[in-house]
Amino acid sequence: MKTKIYKLSLIVIAFITLCLGCSKDFLDTKPLGVISPDQFYKTDADATGAVMSCYQMFEAINASPWTSLWMLKELPSGEVLCGGGKRNDQPPYEEIAEFRFGSDNSVITQVYGMAYYTILRTNLVVDNVKPDNEYKKAVIAEAKTLRALMYFDLVTLWGPVPLVLHNLNPSEYQQPNSTIAAIWAQIEKDLTEAIPDLPLKSQLMAKGMDISRVSKGTAQSLLGKALLFEKKYADAATQFETVITSGEYGLNPDYSQILRKSSEWGRESIFEINYAITQLNTWSTGNIWANPGRTTLDNVHWQLTGPRGDAWFAGGTSGLFAGWGFCSSSQETYNAYVAAGDDVRRKASIMNEAELQSFGGKMRDASNTLPYGSVGLIRLKYSTWKDETVDPAAATPEKNLGTNLRVIRYADVLLMAAEAYNQASGNDAKALGYLNQVRTRVSLPGLTVSGPALFDAIKKERRLELSFEGVRYQDILRWGTTATDLAGVGTKYYLGTFTGTVEDFVPVDNSGFKPNKNELFPFPLNETKTNSKIVQNPGFGG
């Protein structure tokens, strides 16, 4: 009996020892669905996957819920009214539209943060992909172009941001401000280096890339634009001239279609950010509220900025469905078209109430009021087009608006070229030619002015041609015409109700563009708290 027990004890002890012994790799679990960084960036497919994350960030930065770079550029431009469901619907957007924002504004914070998410992803491609074949060289060039594009928005909107070109180690987290000149120099360097390695747009598919990826023309146009912003007009003209003479691009004859889904990556397109309707999102899929735009392929901001439904908007046969009422056209934008006699582009850009009614639609509720924050003008560019989303039977239409965002198109290049020639050498003939190409397309008479009058004409033309496309705010800042172009912008909001025939409005305290302050956005509050080396932009405190 006793021996049995001792034997048993031995077995038990052996058991414990065994368990301790066998546990050497018991704790060595492996993560799933990830690749170790030293195993990545090797193949062409790795390079594609890595550069796709750069594009994906451009998609996200304009389509995160309540965070959009496009909105950040549109709201203070005077082209749109903030609007929404009611006052205080989205306070951060209202603050931007009314120049009341501080460094704690969440949209400014998130766009700034996502810009550097984009930059890290481009830096990783540039630093880790080996340029050992033509495809990988093109991928590196793509990443450099996208990095330049991101720094372009940072330097024009925030000014002297930190210039980060590598993945930072914790010891390098405290980055000081760079200088505006250094950032422009880097943009030029990246684009100049990228151009030789990039295929032409027409060669993209053949080179195993995609029509929607960065082409030589993209980099050249962006370089031209950067040089124009730097007022290096002659160099800018050279770049634009290369794009124009490449024969790769042309104007879409029908202006009303240029931002529609059917015209995506057409002849006029130089660079677009892609969205898709193929995800078939519903309210219960796509993680729209949980995840900042990383896995949804649609752009929820097109829904956000559609004409307000509820008791107000009904589309009739206009092809539009109801949105949530942000970013409707301002009266000033509408008036600019009317003043210029520009009927084609006006009708393609803005629908008025009478036109909506002619489609059997309506804009007013039973008590004859307009939606809050609107003057009854529907923005048609990037609108809530039924044919640019899914069939309601398949999924939720408002969750699947997939219209691509046009970053740069040929008409923009023509107008920038005109501006560069006019400003650089006074080659007004060439400038006038390009300007009139744009005017002719929309059945406007050619102009014959020159010198400063031509410059004024080009500025006006840019406003009408590129309305709602997210370029005007940066144009106004670089031209320094804020005193006239932004006068009164964001100083009141409309209620939709009427006293007599005049729509009621509420003036906003402390609103409007403030010189020597609003030329740049502030660095986010969180940034000034966590980065001791950053110096805040003027007018925004420490």
Partner: protein
Amino acid sequence: MKLTIVLFILAISQLMAVGTYSQSTRLSLNLKTVAVKDVLDKIEANSEFVFLYNSKLIDVDRTVSMDFRNEKISEILNKLFQETDVSYTVVDRQIVLTTKADQSSFSRLLNGQQGKVVSGKVTDSSGGSLPGVSVVIKGTTNGSITDPNGNYSVGNIPANSILQFSFVGMKMQEIEVDNKSVINIVMQEETIGIEEVMAIGYGVQKKNSVTGAISSVKAEDMQNTSITRPEQILQGKTAGVQVIPISGSPGAGMNVRIRGYSSNANSNPIFIVDGVKTQDIGYLDPNDIASMDILKDASSAAIYGAEGGNGVVMITTKGGQKGKTLISYEVQHSWQSAGNLPKLMDVNQYAQYMKEGGIINNVDKTYNTDWLKEIMETGSLTKHHISMTGGNDKSVFLLSLGYMTNDGIIKGSQDKFKRYSIRLNSDHEMKSWLKVGNHLSYAHTDRSAINETQGEFGGVISSALQIDPATPVSFQNNIPAYAQAIINANPSVLKDPNGNYYGISQYNFGEIVNPFVTMAITNGGIYQDNLNGDIYAEITPITDLTFTTRYGVDINYQNNHFWRPTYYYTAERNNGSTVVVDQNQMNNTWIWENFVSYKKSIQNHNFVLLAGMSAEDYYQRVTNVQGGPMVKEDPSFAYLSFLSGQTNDLVTGNPNYFKKESQFGRVTYDYMNKYMFQGSIRRDGASLSYVPKSGRWGIFPSFSGGWVISSEDFFNKTILSYAKLRGSWGQNGSLSNLLTTPYGYLPAITAANTGLIMQYPLSTGNSPAFEPAVAPNPNLKWETSQQTDIGVDLRAFKDKLTFTADYYVKTTKDLITLSNPPLEVGNNPAQINAGTVENKGFEFELGYKEKIGDFKYSANVNLSTLKNNVTYLDPTVGQINGAQVGPSGSWYATVFEQGHSMWHFNGYKTAGIDPATGNPIFVKKDGTKTNAAGITGADLQDIGSPLPKLLFGANINLAYKAFDLTVSASGMSGNKVMMAWIRTDRNQINRPTYFFDGRWTAAGQNTKIPGAGADSKTYNSDQIVFNGSYLRIQQIQLGYTLPTSMADKFSIKSLRIYVSMDNFFTFTKYPGMDPQPSPQYTSPTTTLSNSVGIDRGTYPIPRDIMVGASISF
């Protein structure tokens, strides 16, 4: 003949005794050359036997040697007294030693009835007769034993005698005989807890020898309450424990905080059920629990090392009992309702407020809806529980069945919880050296809930608070034009069961939805199957050495099934296409533990040594499947086989693995039960899913000591009967905060994001995007807490008064948090060890128990103080943003920063209302006063803490004859509550009349309440932060127990019926729903931990009126 009578009486007594202790108890003795007296003492010390003898007659100084292993008491006594004239009589736990000579006088007594005779009846405190009570004339061995009816008779009593009455478990009483011929005695139970045993992890310890800070809650505290989850009982019962329901809705979980909030994220304690760690104890029927021991200090918890940092709750379920089979049945029914509903503005007040604020000029006053009243109904809660126990010398078992159903206080039956549970616990003595057994529990739960998870963005209750009273529940006859237009344009506007359209608000929009619409579109629920338990073997190869091996499992399968119907309410709240969703989760944990304990006594030095190991493996599989549209929009088609297309299909799923292994040891020592010492150490290793290899091992030591001053010779016991000083120090860890992001330190390239793949849509199709998952942190390690505790345990007035006090300082270091790198880093932040939190406080527990005739009462009060401070936070983190309130990204209403209480409210400070404008006067961070335009986000500051400064609880029990009354209360003070459903971006919402009464209306008025049109920053300020102190009367219960004599007639053992009011009264100044709001809403940044005290308008804790009965056979 006479002896026969004695034996007959004894035999009867034996039958009547609870269990057959003497038959079942086995003792091991190994004593060399000791006095018989010492042998008897030793037996008393190691068993429940008590010897009664006259040392003048029995030679107890005779030396003997004894060596027995697992022998019955009879064997031992036979050996001990062989060849002497001593004979023994065992009556349950009492052993009377007599001499042969004495025996004859004993029988003479019974026979002769010579001299003075005293007789009487002995009863227990409830009036039941007590058989087998020994009645002895003091100083002699003459006496008698009570018969089955508790009657006795003692004759031959000399003058001036004293009768001693004694019975195990009862206090001995001495009565002077004087002239009395009848002496009736009521025996009193021994004072509470003297030999109470506590679970301490891998073993038990007598309460008297415990040196750490451990509080216990016993089964009695859990019976007869309306609680549905075991955690609930901890509230108010012991000092230093706070229970925060995640929601008041049926079946919702609980957060438990022991000694404050020690971590920035998860501060939940671990639950050890019958020795096995369990994720969630919601499956446990509280009726199955024998005791809950809360290990509060580090030295007690340190044996659970790595995970004991937030305290340990040891739960012991009831086991079987030898002998008699006992069947108990417990039934309860409660009617539930909401108490403390806030008073909201009616339509007239609302109209006036909106007009004054310039928000809405003319509110249509056709309707005046009291939304809170509309959504509420009387809920019901029914519980049944049957348990059966029994066993013989070798095996004992408990089998129990429980059923609970709870339909909550919101209309409809979407707020419902059902639990079916089965438990089988058994223990078998296979051999003298081998004991095996099991605890097995199976539970099925079925829970559905109203929409609460969206917080202030469209929850049923938050919307009922927010939506204007001008909107009707349904449009009865006239549909207003604005609503008609919406109905015309949208065919899927919903109708109520009577065919009327649900009311659509013309003033509130967006996520604020008619709560009946939200209820109508919510369906489905979560089914869960839980299998929990363990099998164990205890091997005793040599005396005092026990080896235990135990394999435990915690298996949880759950299915969440629901579907989304098409509906239209507003542009932001509608659904155009049906979707069916099945979310399946399988959570599987096994824990294997092996440990050896060795008990040794050398003279008066007593040691217990423990060493062991533990390995744990957690495996989770998640499959989420959804599809749509449905072929027909009908609940019976809401399954994935009945879809008309695949357009809404989405499949995701991934496994998770976590593993741990540990070695541990403990030394417990005492000298004469007077000086005690305990030391333990545990080494824990975690799998790479938590921490990198370099930091995966943690070593957690602890020490504690105690000194029973009252055992010293110099101690005067006249008032204080017991006094013990305790002190402890120890370290614990915590890994639970790493679970949210497995491998959150590892450099890795991924294409996944929140369960989906990131892709970029190229013209040729989507192309996956690969990027770094996180900024890596190779230095990540365990979170460690260190705690020092000093305490004192006192008993006074013959142990009627008990008092325990503790002071502790608990410091949690290397808190795990996401870093907050400058945005230029451009990467998801890594998890880092970034901060230190300190909790310190006093804890007091005071109890008093008394009996005056038929009146018994006891009272317990407890009080604890809490001081919480973030003493360090890595400067690179600056502050950690916590819960968001209102529009996305615009306001972090709680932050974690150095020098403040953790997760304090972060808002604008105000200094009264500006009489000129009706806006608050705002105070900038530098202290200067300004108007709303003058402050920015940089002026957000600490505007109060949701953490209580004081927690208190009280329990009073009164009993008179068959009636008993229990009153218990708990509460807290010093905590603040934020009324977060007042949204800055929706100023047309309704509000409590608090904001209407006494508000600013015209220039020049001095008021405390801002005007109706106050700036939106007002609602990001201390104007919505309130004193959240409260006192809740948890229970007032009146019970009636059928007297034993009556019970006997009905052939039942006991019957108690009761009526009760649970959580019925709450005293608070908070004008919102519940001063202890439930942190239901979560998002990636908003967690249950950083949302404490934020009232987003969630399910209130219901109050109950309950009737119940417990009966046992």
